[in-house]
Symmetry: C2
Subunit: 380 residues, 2 copies
């Protein structure tokens, strides 16, 4: 076996390293999920497979050591503003669970046009038709939630979904107004809060939603894969329906759902996550200031202005112009930034890039701004 | 928020500890998933959410740094003896993916009567009827694979599944013969190797199977949740079918499937796992010797004798008798063993218990045997 595989291939696996450690991190996927010190310790403590199951009596969410029961049954519902909470492998898995439970193949769901690709793939997996509510398009890509109304009337969907905020522009549509619409037309309403839950205050009940999904590995300082799903009590018997053969096992969770080390990091980071969302105003100010400074350099911020989220998307034609004339092509930007200790824009991209200011402090962001200045002047 | 939740609840989460560290571990769920030193390092290196996605270009299995592409597209297929490999959240998730892809609600699947509960729950999630092939019953609970034939003829199933070995008795039915039957009747055949893949040599092609699932957090020295799925090339376009909207995203994987730290531990432990399966004969000898010694104490081993797997199930009426007369009731055994540095039998159980000899060496097992002797004589 080992011979057939080859020692060289095996050797590579024994010493895995990440090249982007300790850099100033602007990568939107990553800025909300850096582990707290407590989570790093928990990671090692519960690293071995099934180690959180030591005291399982047949139901993961009833384990009291570590305190999974209190986390799932008390802390998470309070945090999400919902009646019942569940653990999932990620926001997408929560969306699929809900779609698969509430709709039949051939049914329709109406979603905002800025939805993450996984919303569409989840619907495909459940056999559902997806109808998009178009955004306002370039440059702000706003979602006007009243635009859901004619589509609801026309398609009689089984579910509506709003991405709050979306992962492309960081726009925050009027989720509360859509909650009123959902109630008026009596359509179950799911909020995809993968970029909200754990970063900013968000409360399912205040939004008038039936479901909310969050992502541990995107916004809750957790290792992946991990996610949360909140719902109204009335949906519990449907989405968390039990096996007819094993009455303590939820069908959509295949018995357990999230277990192991990502769950432990989600729990260990939770106190710090619950605290940090209270400083959201400062995060928004920081993002707006950073965006303004980059606009002074000639970058154009896409999405809502003034911006209300740390996820920013910039159009940068001057960087693209440079890429056409340098040996590294689009990769020059990644290289220039990495040399300065900055990681964020996807390697290869220069026409536009996304950046999140969530994890960097003002001093670091000043350094980022100065670095962009220096890069522009170096190649001008 | 923090106030609403209560400081005491939050405080508990900041210092999570596992009580069963450093004990002699006989817990069948855990003995195959203790992390290697390399995996422990990788855990910390890639702990932050999305950190393995630094160089993702839109397809997780094409990431070359860390070397996910080589792992999934080259090493795993060789290891599993299959043409195409996939990453999953666990064995159950692989089973559901296959069922959901190959069968329609109302279809039937035929499975061995020793199947894990997740086989049934996966089928329920996919809307399928489950037909069990009964075992021989007490005390050996053998599965005779020829018993699949009349049920195949009667029910025309979309899939047959064999648990190899099962997680209750550690029995190894004739998987190869079932492969011949599957080919004769042209029924797709899935081997649930959650307790095989990573512990013992097992090769999908040799067994004549169409699919094999394995569990990282059960038998591949990996953190959970993590699993692998191997298949014949002919099933790739069905099980790994792509989204119609996003042509690089697999529908059943919701785009990515397993990502994050469990994947990294699966990779980092792989060289050691590939090596350890070559010593399976020694594992079997050790299990047989241990079982024989416990039988000398009056315990009765259930399941196949001679046993061919490290997972053992004992009937222990004398321990049950003791439990009726002591203050701790069924928990006396857990307490007595823990005091001696041994962890394994589920707390509270004394009538029967399961134990795995996979992670303990002969000296440790001798100590376990002596401990049982001492416990029996203490209470006699």
């Amino acid at each position: 076996m080992a011979k057939q595989i080859g020692d060289k291939s095996l050797q590579k696996l024994t010493n895995l390293h990440r090249p982007h450690k300790e850099l100033i991190n602007l990568m939107p996927l990553q800025t909300g999920s850096m582990l707290t010190e407590d989570a790093k310790k928990a990671l090692v403590e519960f690293g071995d497979g099934y180690s959180i199951c030591d005291f399982c009596q047949g139901s993961l969410w009833n384990i009291t050591n570590p305190p999974i029961r209190e986390f799932v049954q008390d802390l998470l519902p309070k945090f999400l503003g919902c009646e019942v909470a569940a653990l999932t492998y990620g926001a997408r898995d929560g969306i699929f669970m809900v779609m698969h439970s509430l709709a039949e193949p051939g049914d329709s769901v109406i979603v905002d046009g800025n939805r993450h690709y996984t919303t569409v793939v989840s619907a495909e997996r459940a056999g559902l038709d997806v109808i998009d509510v178009a955004s306002s398009g370039y440059p702000e890509f706003r979602i006007e939630v009243n635009d859901f109304i004619p589509l609801i009337k026309k398609h009689n969907p089984k579910l509506i979904l709003l991405t709050y905020p979306d992962g492309n522009y960081g726009n925050l549509p009027d989720a509360k107004r859509l909650g009123e619409i959902a109630q008026e037309y009596d359509i179950p309403y799911i909020v995809n809060g993968a970029y909200a839950v754990g970063r900013m205050p968000v409360n399912m009940e205040d939004l008038g939603a039936d479901f909310i999904v969050g992502s541990g590995h995107k916004s809750m300082a957790s290792a992946g894969p991990s996610g949360v799903l909140g719902m109204r009590r009335r949906w519990e018997s449907k989405v968390l329906r039990k096996s007819q053969t094993y009455d303590n096992k939820e069908i959509e969770l295949l018995g357990c759902s999230l277990r192991g080390v990502p769950l432990v990091t989600l729990m260990a980071s939770f106190p710090s996550v619950a605290e940090r969302i209270q400083h959201w105003d400062e995060q928004v100010s920081k993002a707006q200031w950073f965006s303004g400074e980059l606009e002074k350099l000639g970058f154009r911020q896409l999405g809502e202005i003034p911006h209300r989220h740390d996820l920013l998307h910039f159009e940068t034609p001057m960087l693209y112009d440079i890429s056409k004339h340098v040996r590294e092509r689009g990769y020059f930007l990644y290289k220039e930034l990495k040399e300065r200790g900055i990681w964020g824009p996807q390697p290869g991209l220069t026409k536009t890039f996304k950046a999140s200011t969530f994890a960097a402090n003002e001093e670091q962001l000043k350094f980022v701004i100065d670095s962009f200045k220096a890069i522009l002047s170096k190649y001008s």
